[in-house]
Structures are given as C-alpha cells and as structure tokens.
C-alpha cells in the first residue's frame, strides 16, 4: 500500500515537528482524514494510487510548512532548524571543545596550566559564552516540542541562575541551595525533553548528563596541588571532558541539520 506508507510517513514527520500540545493527536487525525479524502476523490477520477497520494500530499503542503503554521498560530516558535540554530550549533561545538579542554586542563593544577595562569580566565570565559549561545540555540530548536516538563524547566533555569547570583552576592546559604536545586531540576527537565525529542544525538545528551552528575563526586575528591596526579585530577578531567564532548556533539547535531537540508526556508505565506 504505497498510499498508506507515504501518508503514514508524512504524518509521522508532521507529528515530530508539531508543537507538543494536547491537541496534537487531533491535528494528526484531521490531516489523516483530509489526505485520505483527497486520495479517494482522485482514485474515483481514475488516478493511480501513487499519483493520487502524491497529489494529496503536494496540495496539503510540506510537513515543515504546516507545522510552522501551527507553531505560529500558537506562539510556540518553530520546531525546525533555522540559520540561527545552525550558528548556535557552531557556537556549541566551539564552546564545548574550549570549555571541556580548558576545564579539564584546569584541574591539573600541578601542571601549571590551571586557573592561576594568564590564559585560563579569558579562554574559559569565551568557552562559557559560546556554550551559552549554543544552549540558547538548542532550546530554540526544541521549544515547540517541549511538554510540561520542558516548559517548567525553562522557567526554573533563569530563576535558579538569578537566585544563585543573588545568594552568592549576599552570602545567603539557604538561597544558594534552593537555587542550585532549581537549576539541577531545570537541567534534568530540559535534558529529558531534548533526549525524548530525538532531534539531536541522544548519546550526546547522556554524555553531558553523566558529566554533570560527576561534578559533585569530583568536587568531593578534590585536587591535591602537592602531588602531580590524584584520583580527583583524573575524575575532574573526565567529568569536564565528558561535558565538553557532549556539548560539542550536540552542537554538531544542530549544525549538521541545516547541511543535511532537513528544513526549507521560511514559507512564502501561510494561512
């Protein structure tokens, strides 16, 4: 059944790009009924099954176009790669590599390349800024696909970040703990959404998650500057290496989408 196969593949693609809202199933049901109705009408006129199906899909509009029209109506933003997300992907690659290498080397204090050296602060700052740009792009690419966990995560993350800065400035320990907890929850929620969407490599999400989970034990093990290598040194390097590699991999996934031609440009006009 070429008809069912083509329409099924189209609906699957449409579903993957629609904003993840409660009525997504209804949208798919409507599209399915619409497409089959046209196909039946064309079959009755004597068209072949494949020709009728291709005509129906062509008249309906590409999944990108239709999903974008729904996203615009709902104010959810797009679930498609854009020039912005492509450049953010590049920033995530550079940020991940810079931050990963920088922080991993930074743990080796006895090799004299740590935070006391002149290059560390500007390079680490550049890495952090590039990573933030990369994360904004990853968020923009997934925003329309977020479920309730993702939406809560997007609220918690800035609240946690602001709370963290405010608590650090006022030396308010309980506020610091609550802010860290909010940020951890936000990262878990957003990471889960990115992993669940399957848009970017899931293994990269796992790398970042494992790396982030390794920060507390790495901090507890610590670094002993009096010796060349300690377990803490290795764990620290591994943790930051994993985070950097994961971020760079996510960035590569984001950057590569555009080059694979996954999305077209902006639609000429939508209803």
């Amino acid at each position: 059944m070429a008809e069912a196969g083509l329409i099924g593949a189209y609906l699957e693609q449409l579903r993957s790009q629609l904003p993840r809202t409660r009525d997504a199933d209804d949208v798919i049901s409507e599209a399915e009924d619409h497409l089959h109705t046209i196909v039946e009408a064309h079959l009755a006129l004597g068209l072949s099954e494949e020709a009728a199906t291709r005509h129906a899909l062509g008249a309906f509009g590409s999944a990108d176009l239709v999903a974008r029209a729904f996203a615009q109506q709902k104010g959810h933003g797009t679930a498609m790669p854009t020039t912005f997300t492509t450049y953010c992907g590049l920033a995530a690659i550079l940020g991940g590599v810079t931050l990963g290498v920088c922080l991993a080397l930074g743990t080796v204090t006895t090799l004299d390349v740590g935070s006391t050296t002149a290059w560390f602060a500007p390079v680490a700052t550049t890495g952090v800024l590039l990573t933030i740009v990369g994360l904004i792009g990853i968020d923009a690419r997934h925003r329309a696909l977020y479920g309730s966990a993702g939406r809560i995560g997007r609220l918690l993350l800035p609240v946690g970040a602001i709370g963290l800065v405010a608590s650090a400035a006022t030396w308010f320990a309980p506020g610091w703990l609550v802010s860290v907890a909010a940020m951890v929850l936000a990262l878990i929620a957003l990471g889960t959404e990115v992993w669940r969407s399957g848009v970017l490599p899931r293994a990269a999400v796992v790398l970042v998650a494992v790396g982030l989970a390794g920060i507390p034990p790495a901090s507890l093990l610590g670094n002993d500057p009096s010796t060349t290598w300690t377990i803490g040194t290795f764990v620290g390097m591994a943790v930051f290496g994993l985070i950097g590699a994961g971020l760079a991999w996510l960035g590569y996934g984001l950057w590569r989408e555009r080059h694979l031609g996954i999305s077209g440009g902006r639609p000429a006009a939508t209803a």
């Binding site: 009525d23 209804d26 949208v27 049901s29 409507e30 599209a31 399915e32 009924d33 619409h34 089959h36 109705t37 046209i38 039946e40 008249a59 309906f60 509009g61 590409s62 176009l65 239709v66 029209a69 729904f70 615009q72 109506q73 709902k74 639609p267 000429a268 006009a269 939508t270 209803a271």
Partner: protein, 112 residues
C-alpha cells in the same frame, strides 16, 4: 491569487463558508477553491491552524464524527461567530467601497 493577498481576509472567508452549513476541513477548503473559481488555492494544511484559531476565539465549534472508518472533525458557526461574520462583512463592504471609489474613479484632477 497570491496566498499573501488572501491572508488578511481568511477569517471572513472561513466564517462565511461555514455559515451556510457545518463542514469538515477538506470541505471548507474545497468550497473556498470552487466558489472562488480556483483563485483561492492555499496549501491546504495551513488552513487548519486558522480553523483552530477561530475555534479558540469562540467563533467556531467543532464535533468529531466518523466517516469511512476515520475520525472527522466538523466545524459549525457559533452565535459569537455569526456576530463576528456580520462585523467582518460590514468592514469588507466599507473597504471595497472605499478602494473602489479611488481605484475606479477617473483621473484627478480632471483634465481641463
């Protein structure tokens, strides 16, 4: 006709089409195309977001039925939708009169 030209008048066209009888999405689009002499030929999938928006605004109501073993959503105009349609029609007539009085008038100032 360019889709961009149609965009600003889509609510009026959809409400007017559904005012006559409850219709499912494909029938709405087909009616628009046929009655406009095929001038209104939008990518069909992009009409559904507009139907959903009109439903969220309370201008349309929808019910799910079954046709040929498939779920089918049928849209009908609400009282609020009828009022909105009357308003849209009034504004449209004013717009057409105003544009017509300029576009179809002779040259101005009149040659001596």
């Amino acid at each position: 006709m360019r889709a961009e030209t149609l965009k600003g008048h889509l609510d009026l066209l959809l409400l007017a089409t559904i005012a006559e009888q409850p219709l499912h999405g494909y029938a709405v689009i087909e009616s628009l195309r046929t009655r406009s002499g095929e001038a209104f030929d939008l990518p069909e999938g992009t009409v559904y977001p507009a139907l959903h928006r009109l439903e969220r605004a309370g201008h349309l109501d929808s019910k799910w039925t079954t046709a040929n073993g498939r779920r089918r959503r049928v849209y009908a105009l609400t009282d609020k939708g009828r009022k909105a349609l009357a308003r849209e029609r009034r504004e449209w007539r004013q717009f057409v009169d105003a544009v017509g009085s300029i576009a179809e008038a002779g040259p101005w100032p009149k040659p001596a």
